[in-house]
C-alpha cells in the first residue's frame, strides 16, 4: 500500500519536472529535466514492482536508469563536439 502511495507521489513530481522540461531556457536545463524524468520513471517502475511483489518487474527500472544515463551522456557529448563521429585521422 505504501509502495502505491509512493508511486503516486513520484508521478506527481514527474509532472512538475515536465513543466521544467517544457520551459527550460537553455539546452542544459532541458537535458537535466529529461534525465530527471527518466530517473523518476525508473522509480515508478520500482515502486510498482515492490507493490506487485514480482522480481521481474524491477528490470524495466534498471533499463530506464541505464538508458536515461546513456541518452543524456550522448546528448551532452553531441552538443559539445557537434558530432558523434570520432575523428578519422589522427592529428599530427
Amino acid at each position: 500500500m505504501i509502495a502505491l502511495i509512493g508511486a503516486a507521489g513520484i508521478a506527481g513530481l514527474l509532472v512538475l519536472t515536465l513543466l521544467r522540461l517544457h520551459a527550460g531556457p537553455t539546452l542544459y536545463d532541458r537535458a537535466l529535466a529529461a534525465s530527471s524524468v527518466t530517473a523518476k520513471a525508473a522509480l515508478i517502475c520500482a515502486a510498482l514492482a515492490a507493490a506487485a511483489g514480482r522480481a521481474d518487474f524491477v528490470d524495466p527500472a534498471f533499463a530506464l536508469a541505464l538508458g536515461g544515463f546513456v541518452l543524456n551522456l550522448a546528448i551532452l557529448k553531441f552538443f559539445r563536439t557537434g558530432t558523434l563521429q570520432a575523428p578519422m585521422v589522427r592529428e599530427g
Binding site: 507521489g9 513520484i10 513530481l13 542544459y28 514492482a49 544515463f69
Partner: protein, 114 residues
C-alpha cells in the same frame, strides 16, 4: 520483525518522497542552471536512494529486495556522475552562472486588484 521492517521501510519512503519534492521544487523555482543542478542532483539523488531502500524493506520478498538494493546502488553511482558531466558540459559551453544577490520575482505592487 516483519512489521518493524515495514514501518522502517514506510519511514524511508516518506523521507525519500519529501527530499524528492524539495529537489523538484528547486528544479522549478531556482534561478540558474547550476543551482537547479544542485537541487536536483543532491536532494533528488539522496531521496531516490532512500526511496528505493524503503521499497526493498517494504516488499518483503527476497528476490525483489535484492534487485531493489542493486538498483539503489546503481542510482547512487550514476547520479553524481551525471551531475559532474552536466556541469562540465555547461561550463565548457560558456554558460555563465548568475552572480550577486538574487531577488525572487514578486507580483507587481502597482497593479491593484479591483
Amino acid at each position: 520483525m516483519q512489521i518493524i521492517l515495514s514501518f522502517l521501510g514506510a519511514f524511508l519512503i516518506v523521507i525519500g518522497l519529501a527530499l524528492m519534492a524539495g529537489g523538484t521544487l528547486g528544479l522549478l523555482r531556482f534561478p540558474d542552471f547550476y543551482t537547479r543542478l544542485h537541487a536536483v542532483r543532491v536532494a533528488d539523488g539522496l531521496g531516490a536512494v532512500l526511496f528505493i531502500l524503503g521499497l526493498a524493506l517494504v516488499s518483503g520478498d527476497g528476490a525483489v529486495a535484492l534487485r531493489l538494493v542493486l538498483l539503489a546502488a546503481l542510482v547512487a553511482a550514476l547520479g553524481p556522475t551525471m551531475s559532474q558531466l552536466a556541469a562540465n558540459a555547461a561550463h565548457a559551453a560558456g554558460l555563465a552562472p548568475l552572480a550577486g544577490s538574487y531577488r525572487a520575482p514578486r507580483p507587481d505592487p502597482r497593479r491593484r486588484t479591483p
